[in-house]
């Protein structure tokens, strides 16, 4: 009897609650006003998601949209079927433009896109739009390697200052880098950062450690501490928590951050941070849907479009003259006189187990180790086999709107080693 009552009670609750939802049914939503939604992997405690949320709010408010009425943000959506549910739920609420911010959301967003051909789905950091051939599914990224390169220049200047002051010897100018996964996006990031540093400090080397997670405060902090113990005199990271910058502040080691300024948390050690500003892309998409225009299948924001930005320099840590040098290099990147992945600037000679193991067959180098041809896995068909030569006129084309927006630079260049 007791059991039966429990079940009956449960049913009454379910049905009762279901019944009362019918009354406040949606009314007045039949006006064709634009509604947009953003799906986030974490919430604003992650620097990565905060960067999206801030930009999204800015773009929406510019377009006159109101939070909770005409634009919606849903957070902590895992990279599984929940993403599809969240996307379709946005559609049910009347959204005609849906964004998702995490790499693993992509296949589920594609499923939603197939179900709702009238709604535009835009995905950041994805790789599949150019092969899916869906009119309403789009990928976007930014040439963040340019920002990383600039941040690397600031790091190199700091190393030079430390060498000149006699704090370290020239051959001890080792940078530490905490990466999330040994994935093209991360590799492109630390390689461009390193190339920027080495463009001003010739003796710079770099040691990289991976956390195998996009967000793990403890691992990132421990990674930074390990790198400092290994003799790294400057740290940067590509992972989304405050773990690494705080470890640097505690150890008094200068830090180049990512995704946004950590000046407030780390006033003594913060040099500069590069980040992708997604606002231009959000605005572009919102306007495209408003005006009934097409959204590019693969969009790459640049320094020029305002999609790749550096934060203000830190007050205490940066070397003297950093601002002037950065302005000069930035101008060079914009006018094209500086190419980050110019094959003349790096060599690839290691092909053992850890380095470039899978790439032996797809790479050609000259006798010095300069890359002359490289087949990258641009199509991302799940085979992990390169099929497209991406060395064009001596430049490694890191990404391109005719290729795909997400990076596919995954070489391990000389000068960068992995922590044990």
């Amino acid at each position: 009897m007791k059991r039966i009552l429990a079940v009956v009670l449960a049913l009454v609750m379910v049905l009762g609650l279901a019944a009362c939802t019918k009354t406040p049914a949606k009314t007045g939503t039949n006006d064709a006003a634009l509604k947009v939604g953003l799906i986030c992997l974490h919430d604003e405690n992650s620097t990565y998601d905060k960067n999206f949320i801030d930009a999204f709010k800015e773009a929406c408010e510019k377009a006159g949209l109101v939070e909770g009425e005409s634009y919606f943000i849903t957070t902590n959506i895992p990279e599984g079927a929940e993403c599809k549910e969240a996307a379709l739920d946005f559609v049910d609420q009347g959204c005609t433009l849906v964004f998702a911010d995490s790499f693993g959301h992509e296949p589920y967003l594609i499923e939603a896109a197939k179900e709702c051909p009238d709604v535009q789905f835009c995905h950041a950091t994805g790789t599949k739009a150019h092969t899916e051939n869906l009119a309403n599914f789009h990928d976007a990224f930014a040439s963040i390697y340019e920002g990383r390169y600039l941040a690397g220049v600031a790091a190199g200047l700091k190393l030079n200052e430390m060498i000149e002051a006699g704090d370290i010897k020239a051959d001890a100018a080792k940078i530490g880098y905490i990466g999330a996964y040994p994935y093209a996006e991360v590799k492109s990031g630390y390689t461009s950062f390193f190339l920027g540093a080495r463009s001003v400090c010739e003796s710079a080397t770099m040691e990289v450690t991976f956390t195998n997670s996009w967000y793990d405060e403890t691992l990132e902090k421990e990674g930074a501490q390990k790198l400092v113990a290994d003799g790294c005199v400057l740290i940067s990271q590509h992972a989304d928590s405050y773990g690494a910058p705080t470890a640097c502040e505690e150890a008094g080691v200068p830090n180049v951050s990512y995704n946004g300024s950590t000046e407030a948390q780390c006033p003594d050690t913060f040099i500069v941070s590069s980040r992708i500003n997604w606002e231009p892309y959000f605005t572009l998409c919102i306007n495209a849907v408003k005006d009934g225009k097409d959204i590019p299948t693969d969009y790459i924001g640049t320094i020029d479009t305002g999609s790749v930005v550096l934060t203000d320099l830190g007050k205490n840590a940066p070397a003297k003259g950093t601002a002037d040098k950065l302005a000069e290099v930035k101008a060079g990147l914009i006018d094209g006189s500086i190419k980050v992945f110019d094959t003349a600037n790096f060599t690839v000679t290691r092909f053992n187990d850890t380095y470039n193991q899978y790439k032996k067959d797809s790479i050609k180098t000259d006798k010095d180790g300069k890359v002359t041809e490289y087949l990258a896995d641009v199509d991302d068909a799940g085979d992990y086999i390169g099929e497209t030569n991406v060395i064009i006129d001596g430049i490694f084309v890191e990404s391109g709107s005719d290729m795909r927006s997400a990076p596919y630079f995954d070489l391990d260049i000389d000068g960068i080693t992995f922590a044990k």
């Binding site: 007791k2 909770g68 895992p78 990279e79 599984g80 991302d380 992990y384």
Partner: protein, 361 residues
């Protein structure tokens, strides 16, 4: 001196409806406190917050299905841990057992591909997943039965091993280094749970519902269920009346692991269609609460898992529409659960006024 003291209620002293009144009352008081907290912390209208919550869980057909799927998955893991808990075997390892099940399913999808017809494929996946879960569950049971190891720590540690094994296979398979295995068989849909009448989650819900009833009958009416209860109440009594305690422990953990493996299969085949470290998403731990709150009664677990999933879905809608941080949902859920657990105190104990103040000499 306090003016009252606490007395344990004798069993069955309280009429059953009285206990349920206390529970209902505690939920209502919990809801009131939630409303108060909402107003004080956010200044939002609590009625509006609650209707938003209900809207988030039931507001559309899709949301109701998402709610049902959420309940079914949580319920499945809860049903799985229940026989072990009833035996007082603290299986904290449901997360790992389910994950191993999910990994087995994903491996089938990857390596068998479309060599089998889909119905056979699903059976193969379910069986391998259940085996994987059972193996992961029986290891701590064997150690417990043979060497009397601490099963709480053992099963807990097995979770981390399972997570590392999944990470390892992800690294091996996804050589691009992204740490993500793509959706499997995205074009052929082999190994995907079929949707019935366009409802993707209907089959999941039906399977779990059947499972719940079977588990209820098994625990309440079968000889094995009785043995579990006796071992849980007192191992010595069990030995005295001739129950082979070791056998019961091992058998029950195999059942628990089998069902956890099945939950992994349902999550991979019926929802995500791939495997990641987060596939189980903490359900292995939430299930412990669901099972305890329901006092190990599978039918009541429908209610308790509904409560938890309702608050999860509802408050995520609140944080979305009212511009509150997602932690708000955790606070609301925490308050309600606090009151539900608190109500058990008043059901099990009564507060008596002291009849006479004892004078201190």
């Amino acid at each position: 001196m306090l003016g009252f003291h606490v007395v344990k209620r004798s069993k069955d002293a309280m009429p059953w409806w009285n206990a349920w009144l206390i529970r209902l009352g505690s939920i209502l008081i919990g809801a009131l406190v939630c409303a108060l907290v909402t107003v004080l912390l956010t200044g939002k209208d609590p009625v509006n917050v609650f209707t938003t919550m209900v809207d988030g869980a039931f507001g559309s057909e899709r949301r109701i299905w998402a709610l049902l799927q959420g309940i079914a998955m949580l319920l499945c893991v809860s049903i799985a841990v229940t026989p072990a808990f009833k035996m007082r075997f603290w299986n904290i390892g449901a997360e790992g057992q389910a994950l191993m099940g999910g990994l087995a399913s994903a491996a089938c999808m990857m390596f068998i591909g479309d060599r089998l017809p889909n119905w056979l494929m699903l059976i193969v996946m379910a069986v391998t997943s259940m085996l994987a879960g059972a193996i992961w569950g029986v290891i701590p049971a064997l150690f417990k039965a043979r060497w009397n190891t601490n099963e709480t720590l053992f099963t807990l540690m097995m979770n981390y091993i399972a997570i590392q094994i999944v990470s390892y296979f992800i690294c091996i398979y996804a050589t691009g280094g992204s740490g993500k295995i793509d959706v499997l068989n995205a074009t052929t849909h082999t190994g995907w749970m079929p949707s019935i009448g366009g409802k993707a989650y209907l089959l999941n819900v039906i399977v779990v519902l059947i499972l719940t009833v079977i588990m209820y009958v098994y625990l309440k009416y079968s000889k094995q269920g009785y043995e579990i209860a006796v071992v849980g109440e007192s191992e010595n009594t069990a030995k005295y009346i001739g129950i082979d305690v070791r056998k019961v422990i091992i058998r029950t953990m195999i059942i628990s692991g089998l069902l956890c493996g099945l939950a992994g299969f349902l999550l991979v085949s019926g929802a995500d269609h791939t495997i990641s470290r987060d596939t189980i998403a903490g359900r292995g731990f939430t299930a412990i609460m669901v099972s305890w709150l329901a006092k190990f009664n599978p039918l009541v677990m429908i209610l308790t898992s509904f409560l938890l999933v309702f608050f999860e879905k509802g408050s995520s809608q609140v944080s979305q529409l009212c511009g509150l941080n997602a932690s708000f949902s955790d606070i609301i859920t925490g308050i309600i659960i606090f009151f539900i657990i608190g109500s058990e105190f008043f059901i099990n104990f009564k507060i008596m006024k002291n009849e006479k103040e004892v004078k201190k000499s």
